[in-house]
């Protein structure tokens, strides 16, 4: 089971406020993925395609996957849009993994794609809010910043988490993003800048929130038999797990943890027969700084309520106990909603093969974990990878 499905190639577009449209971004990611194939590659070997996307501002909600795949010359490939808000392409990764595990396919294309910055502000806000409970959360006047702010405030109330600890997440992720040529924001920030920034939804300020980004990422999966056609250094998916939760925050018994993360995490560690201390690096879902802190607790990297202190101690720096978001995370690398999950897999592919940029490459990493959340926690995947 541990070596049934491999990532044999992966690549992404630069994330950011791009002039290019969704098709061009997809092509950019596709080219990057093909260039990462060690041996020769024939696209006609691909049997299924799973494209994670919220569907770029609503103007291609129907038959979304056909559009980019036709553009890159694979119009007849069986494909579909996979959607679970910000976890769309990690659920696409899971679907691709399941297709190969089931024996129905040997080579699968997994992708994520999002175009958001060409929308007017009002429409952007709409798309940033569709993944919440419209009837009961949106009508109260909140978008996601508000929902995560409710979690953050209670976390501060219950555990003494501070704004400084949350800001430390942003500072760390910006430092990594500055070294990542594919990142949206490639500039470091200081703790003071983060704390002085205008409030968005108290207690979250501007630097507690990830940016709105465009981008695409493509990951090529293969079965054990077919993997060696592409590379002698595949990255195996040792575990794929997922869980959901109530859509609305007010339906959940606790708002200071994400049940979906806890369940998916437990299932993934069980599948891989590993524990948090076996993980060499992690890409966690930091749509808001508090989310990275909660993920550290919910995945068992630190005790419940101690996430803020854990970050403050330096444990999640590159030379720390568990490097987190060496890519820059959602905060600095960017968050093109549907592409983020696949983007995390691209990062892991490079980190475990030693091909990430100097300064943000984890030394001797063998086992990695990705954590991707939809919206405010209604869906979540956890994947564990190994060499």
């Amino acid at each position: 089971m541990a070596e049934d499905v491999a990532i044999v190639a992966a690549g992404q577009s630069r994330f950011g406020a791009r002039r290019e449209g969704p098709k061009e971004l997809f092509a950019e990611a596709w080219r990057a993925c093909r260039e990462a194939v060690d041996k020769g590659f024939d696209p006609l070997l691909i049997q299924e395609a799973y494209v994670g996307s919220m569907a770029f501002g609503g103007y291609q909600l129907g038959n979304t996957a056909s559009l980019p795949l036709g553009y890159i010359g694979l119009p007849y490939l069986p494909s579909r849009r996979v959607e679970n808000a910000c976890a769309s392409s990690s659920f696409a990764l899971r679907d691709g993994y399941l297709a190969i595990r089931s024996g129905a396919a040997d080579v699968v294309l997994v992708a994520g794609l999002e175009k958001m910055t060409d929308l007017p502000t009002e429409r952007q806000k709409y798309w940033l809010g569709v993944s919440g409970d419209t009837e009961w959360e949106r009508l109260a006047g909140t978008t996601f910043a508000g929902t995560y702010a409710l979690m953050a405030l209670r976390h501060m109330h219950d555990f003494g988490t501070t704004r400084e600890q949350m800001a430390a997440v942003a500072v760390k992720n910006h430092r990594h993003g500055a070294l990542n040529p594919k990142a949206h924001l490639q500039k470091e920030i200081t703790l003071e800048q983060a704390l002085r920034a205008p409030m968005v939804a108290h207690p979250l300020g501007l630097y507690d929130c990830c940016p709105v980004s465009d981008g695409a990422a493509v990951v090529l999966l293969a079965s054990r038999e077919k993997a060696k056609r592409f590379t002698d250094a595949p990255v195996w998916i040792r575990a794929s797990a997922a869980a959901n939760d109530h859509l609305a925050l007010h339906e959940r018994p606790s708002i200071t943890r994400m049940e979906a993360t806890i369940r998916a995490g437990k299932a993934a560690f069980h599948q891989a027969d590993l524990s948090p201390r076996d993980i060499d690096l992690a890409e966690l879902h930091d749509s808001f700084t508090i989310a990275e802190i909660m993920a550290l607790e919910d995945l068992g990297f630190c005790p419940k309520g101690r996430g803020g202190a854990f970050v403050e101690s330096g444990a999640t720096q590159r030379d720390g106990q568990i490097p987190v978001n060496l890519s820059g995370g959602l905060k600095a690398k960017g968050h093109p909603l549907g592409a983020t999950g696949a983007g995390q897999a691209v990062e892991v592919f490079h980190q475990l093969r030693g091909s990430a940029e100097k300064g943000r490459q984890a030394e001797g990493a063998e086992v990695a974990l990705t954590h991707n959340v939809g919206g405010s926690g209604a869906s979540c995947t956890v994947h564990i990878y190994g060499r």
Partner: protein, 470 residues
């Protein structure tokens, strides 16, 4: 005998002092008015009337539904009574609107008393007004807002003992122009004279029994000018208009609330209403202390928020950005039919109770989240709760539908409310400065305006601090 069994009122918490106008404009034109009241952005005639009714009904709980609910307003232009009946869960009560002039409330009281006298049982009468004027019109200076409600019934402690009415066809009172701004009427002197005449007719020889006055007031001089020939000077001083401004049909009603609060058994209260060519005086005798919450005049409550003139203009919407297209992307879009179907949930917290394990459920579901059982019955949840968490939504974090609210009133607080009955709900916290909101703060349900969509005002669930002194 038919009379007033209980009363209540609602005054929005936002005020502006006359001297703010004077500082900004060089003068304040409303004579004898010290300050006046403006509704919060999420308040209107419906929400103010509902709060007044709830407070009145708290004073006189009853088992049977009232037979009639009459809602009066000089400023409302859409159905009010039906929304009130829905919000109070009055399925079999006749809901009637009397709108369009400031005499409406006195008419409502008289019609209500007649119905009670004919054996109809209880009648609810409420008035609510929020007149709006043009920013460059001196008449605008004194326009205020408020609501008052009365429960009429066969056992009322304040009974009608005399009345007199006059109709004058050529009187033009305050009226709305084409843009909906209220403009001053012509011939106010004739109106004042008519008020004097009906007052004299109603009081007759018993002027010395009159202990309180509930006069329609355009400004602080109206009562004096109208009644100085009928009653002693100390009874004709400015009433609620001094701190509430001109409140249309609610003007004599709010003054009646003040008078009932002060009156002793055996005393009479003279009420005078005026509007659209009709003038009526009603003499009430207090036969028993009428339950109600009196208006505290004089000292402002801790929760009252005084605005500067720019803040006032902004709240009135005079500074709204007309170029923002609010219809391009509805971040909180819920189709009209879906919304109407959930009105019971939003107005009255109608959720469910699980008949298997007794857990309360909200919003309604197909199966009980506690035990999985499917035997769920409708149940109105307790409207009180505590804040489990909250946030303050600044610019950029609000769905598009709430931009208008932010432009008028700035940041707003959203809370995750832990209801007494168990479930939690996400809702705005209103009637309080966002900076004063705290975790674990006790709150209670209120009905307030959410936004306007597809031409219809969406009313919905919000919470306010339980203590009105916050």
């Amino acid at each position: 005998m038919a009379g007033i069994e209980a009363y209540g009122y609602h005054l929005p918490r936002y005020s502006i002092r006359g001297k703010e106008y004077a500082n900004a404009l060089g003068h304040f034109a409303a004579r004898g008015v010290e300050e006046k009241i403006i509704p919060g952005w999420d308040e209107d005639e419906v929400t103010m009337a509902l709060e007044a009714l709830i407070r009145a009904l708290e004073m006189a709980p009853a088992e049977r539904e009232p037979s009639i609910l009459v809602a009066a307003s000089s400023s409302a232009r859409r159905p009010v009574a039906q929304t009130l009946a829905q919000a109070l869960g009055l399925g079999s009560t006749e809901a009637v609107d009397i709108q369009g002039n400031s005499h409406a409330a006195v008419e409502a009281l008289l019609v209500g008393l007649k119905a009670v006298g004919s054996g109809e049982g209880r009648v609810l009468v409420v008035s609510s007004d929020a007149p709006r004027g043009a920013p460059d019109d001196p008449f605008e200076h004194g326009l205020g807002a408020g609501a008052a409600a009365f429960v009429l019934g066969p056992g009322g402690g304040a009974e009608l003992v005399a009345r007199a009415t006059e109709t004058t066809e050529d009187l033009v009172g305050p009226h709305e122009d084409d843009q909906g701004f209220l403009r001053v009427g012509a011939n106010q002197d004739a109106g004042v004279a008519a008020m004097g005449r009906v007052a004299k007719a109603a009081v007759g020889d018993a002027a010395n029994e009159v202990a309180g006055v509930a006069c329609h007031e355009w400004d602080g001089r109206t009562a004096r000018e109208a009644l100085s020939s009928v009653l002693p000077k100390e009874l004709t001083e400015a009433g609620a208009v001094r701190f509430a401004g001109y409140t249309g049909s609610s003007s004599p009603m709010l003054n009646l609330v003040v008078a009932l609060g002060d009156a002793r058994v055996g005393q009479t209260i003279l009420m005078v209403g005026h509007g659209a060519g009709r003038t009526t005086a009603v003499l009430w005798r207090v036969t028993a202390k009428v339950p109600g919450v009196g208006i505290v005049t004089g000292e402002p409550k801790a929760n009252r928020r005084y605005l500067t003139y720019p803040e006032y203009l902004r709240l009135r919407g005079a500074l709204a950005n007309p170029t923002v297209n609010r219809q391009t992307a509805l971040g909180a879009y819920v189709p009209l039919a879906t919304y109407q179907a959930t009105v019971g949930q939003r107005y009255r917290l109608i959720g469910q109770v699980c008949t298997t394990c007794n857990a309360k459920v909200f919003p309604p579901k197909a199966s009980c989240p506690s035990c999985g059982g499917e035997a769920l019955q409708p149940h109105a949840l307790d409207p009180r709760g505590r804040l489990h968490s909250f946030t303050i939504i600044a610019r950029g974090a609000a769905p598009t539908e709430f931009l208008e609210q932010q432009e008028a009133q700035g940041e707003y607080a959203v809370g995750l409310v832990q209801l007494e009955d168990g479930p939690r709900i996400t809702a705005q916290i209103t009637d309080v400065e966002p900076g004063a909101v705290e975790v674990e703060m006790p709150v209670v349900l209120v009905l307030r305006k959410l936004y306007r969509q597809e031409g219809i005002v969406r009313y919905g669930t919000k919470f306010r601090p339980l203590s009105r002194d916050v």
